[in-house]
Amino acid sequence: MPNGVAQHHILSVLVENKFGVLSRVAGLFSRRGYNIFSLAVSPTEDERLSRMTIVVDAESAPLEQITKQLNKVIPVIKITELSPDEAVERELMLATVKAGAETRSQVTELAAIFEAKIVDVGYEAMTLMVAGTPEKLDAISDLLAPFGIVESQRTGRIALSKLARQTTKLRAVKDRGA
């Protein structure tokens, strides 16, 4: 997985929570030749709606055309493009790493640095769970690689837009102090 997100766009897509919606969206991407880099889907706080976080390969098509075509899918209600500066992004990874008696302590040390949890331990390997930004997951993957990653799975990123800061309020506080 490449570091950074420059060549990718994150779309947060609010859809009706009905069967077949994922298929409609995925089908659109494949038949128009757009590349999905990662995809995460779950219901939202409103059970009638689901949120899809789609990371798209910006090289495969202009983002504008992707969002316009996506908008034509009837159960798609709203599309927000999340730029990395304006979004909170997180991803979860499970990784089984070779960790025999002689390397186990080194792996647990790394896990501690990255605040990864050890969720399973065997004689020759252990499974770590780590959550964080995609960059953090890339970093721990790189550092674990020399020990030997037996298996790993990432969820693909989920993202929400950052909350608006009430700048007017802050100014009001300052004014009062002056």
């Binding site: 859809v15 009706e16 077949g20 298929s23 504008e64 316009k68 075509q69 034509k72 009837i74 209600i77």
Partner: protein
């Protein structure tokens, strides 16, 4: 009121104003065919489900109202996929109802089961699988709404057999509630103003009218706009008839087989006003060299069309008619403020091209019968508002080139998908929708053989369509490409002029059949055919197989490299 799902479905179709539907029953749709007996809806029993789909399309093309088709599950559903895709490409509003195996056994590979919703997802604007009979009125209402609003298109409702048999409480929804579907019909006022300003600076403007004009019923508005600005108009294959061919500002059809003036006017213009058109590759040729000096105003109801192929200088999302009406006002107010460039030099240039490079063919008195001559004679001996339906290939291009379309919705053809076999069933649908009009299908011999059996439907239902087969014994357009681009190596294109015997075949299907072999037999036969009003007529015109469609822009080539008829190219040696 308690109804079965099937009764609710038929009642919902009636509520939507369905007067006629095209279909063929089978196992899974059986429950719905029962209440149809007691319905006011006229059902036309087709011989193949593809025919039902194209008939619904022909009906929609001719009337502007949604066509309705109903077929059973499995193979019937797959047979209608071609028509759905055709309607999707050409934005034709049709509503297709399919039967499905009982919901309880979906996914078990039951007899005549197929994933209809999955298969048709890419070729419908939207589709619905009914799982609860209580949803039927709402889904039907939504289906008609989606099919006919915004950019029109095909929709499909898949009804499992057990759901059709279950009871529901009848209701009719007051409104449609689709939170993700709100087409924007009104153009942005600032964009419209910008468009008028840009227009006021253009010395060589061209209006590029597409099928959206017809879908938006904007023909009158287009005429007013063209006249208010003095701008020439090209009408694409899908827009023929949206602006009258006999209007002095009409330049005719652009594109791969467009006339020289229409093609070249777009190449040389400094402003292209695209109204309900989508910069199709058959119009633009090589995109990089299409209309290189032009600024672009692009009006379309589908935002995804704006900037898909060519980035417009002024994009306007909206319904063509509403936007054009606003544009007329904006143009008039702009003209009051300042003087617009004089278009006389542009018109002088256009008239010179028209004179130098007219469409051309030659019919010798004792020579082989020319397909263009047959079309010209049909045109001259049929009423002005005749509906012309064509299939796909040479005959389609000649028909579009030579007919004078002076009324909207008089030209029905398969543009985007290029579906051979479209003409016969679509002409039946058009005649059902417009029974008082004369309907001529102009077909090729290759196309005709794909769906000819629907003439049995036409005979049985007393739908007196007329079919002219331009029989050149070849898959003519393919032959033309092999001649021009494959060094005359003809591969699998010969069909034979008399196998089948078209006139006899027509008679066997309950039609009147004629065969025409010589030029002097053309007009008398057309006159005989036009007299017949109680059953379909088929005329087998045995035409010259060597005739090719010109002008031609080779696929992927630039529109600047248009190939003219070598027999009539006055520019040779220039």
């Amino acid at each position: 009121m308690k109804l079965t799902g099937a009764q609710a479905l038929i009642k919902s179709l009636e509520m939507e104003g369905t007067e006629v539907m095209f279909g063929l029953p089978g196992g899974a749709i059986l429950p719905v065919y029962d209440p149809l007996i007691d319905s006011s809806i006229r059902h036309i029993l087709v011989r193949h489900e593809q025919g039902a789909g194209h008939m619904a399309e022909g009906f929609a093309h001719a009337t502007g109202r949604p066509g309705v088709a109903m077929v059973t599950s499995g193979p019937a559903a797959t047979n209608i996929v071609t028509a759905l895709c055709d309607a999707y490409m050409d934005s034709v509003p049709i509503v297709v109802i399919t039967g499905q195996v009982p919901y309880a056994v979906i996914g078990s590979d039951a007899f005549q089961e197929c994933d209809t919703v999955g298969i048709t997802m890419p070729v419908t604007k939207h589709n619905w699988l009914v799982t609860d009979p209580q949803d039927i009125p709402r889904y039907v209402r939504e289906a008609f709404h989606v099919a006919t609003t915004g950019r029109p298109g095909p929709v499909l409702v898949d009804v499992p057999k057990d759901v059709a048999n279950q009871m529901m409480d009848w209701y009719w929804p007051d409104a449609v509630d689709l939170p993700g579907y709100k087409p924007n019909v009104k153009g942005h006022p600032k964009q419209i103003k910008d468009a008028a300003r840009l227009w006021g600076e253009a010395h060589r403007p061209v209006i590029y009218a597409g099928g959206g004009i017809l879908k938006a019923r904007a023909s009158n508005a287009l005429k007013a706009l063209a006249e208010a600005t003095g701008t020439p108009v090209v009408t694409t294959l899908m827009a023929r008839g949206s602006f009258p061919d006999d209007h002095p500002q009409c330049l005719g059809m652009p594109g791969m087989h467009g006339n020289y003036t229409a093609v070249t006017s777009m190449q040389k213009c400094d402003l292209l006003i695209a109204l309900g058109s989508r910069f199709d590759d058959r119009v633009t040729g090589k995109v990089d060299s299409f209309a290189p000096g032009a600024k672009v105003i692009h009006v379309d109801i589908d935002p995804a069309e704006l900037g898909k192929v060519r980035r417009p200088d002024v994009p306007i999302v909206g319904d063509c008619r509403l936007v054009i009406e606003e544009l007329i006002k904006a143009v008039q107010s702009n003209r009051q403020k300042r003087e617009w460039p004089d278009l006389t030099p542009w018109w002088t240039q256009l008239r010179e091209w028209q004179e130098r490079h007219p469409l051309h063919y030659e019919q010798l008195e004792d020579g082989p019968l020319k397909p263009q001559y047959c079309i010209d004679m049909l045109r001259d001996h049929c009423p002005d508002d005749t509906i012309v339906v064509s299939g796909v290939g040479q005959h389609q291009m000649w028909s579009s080139q030579r007919w004078k379309f002076n009324h909207p919705n008089t030209w029905v053809n398969s543009g985007g998908l290029g579906t051979m076999g479209f003409a016969v069933p679509a002409s039946i649908g058009a005649k059902v929708g417009k029974p008082d009009r004369m309907v001529w299908a102009i077909d090729g011999d290759g196309c005709f053989q794909m769906t000819a059996q629907e003439l049995v439907t036409a005979s049985a239902e007393r739908i007196p369509v007329k079919v002219a087969i331009l029989n050149n014994a070849y898959l003519g357009m393919v032959r033309q490409w092999q001649e021009l681009f494959y060094e005359e190596r003809y591969s699998e294109v010969y069909l034979s002029p008399d196998l089948p015997d078209y006139a006899k075949w027509a008679e066997a299907m309950g039609c009147v059949g004629f065969k025409v072999e010589t030029p002097d037999d053309v007009v008398p036969t057309i006159e005989k055919a036009n007299q017949i009003d109680d059953r379909p007529v088929v005329v087998d015109f045995q035409v010259d197989y060597r005739e090719k469609v010109y002008p031609m822009v080779p696929a992927g080539g630039s529109n600047d490299d248009i190939i003219l008829d070598p027999a009539h190219d006055k520019s040779v040696g220039r």
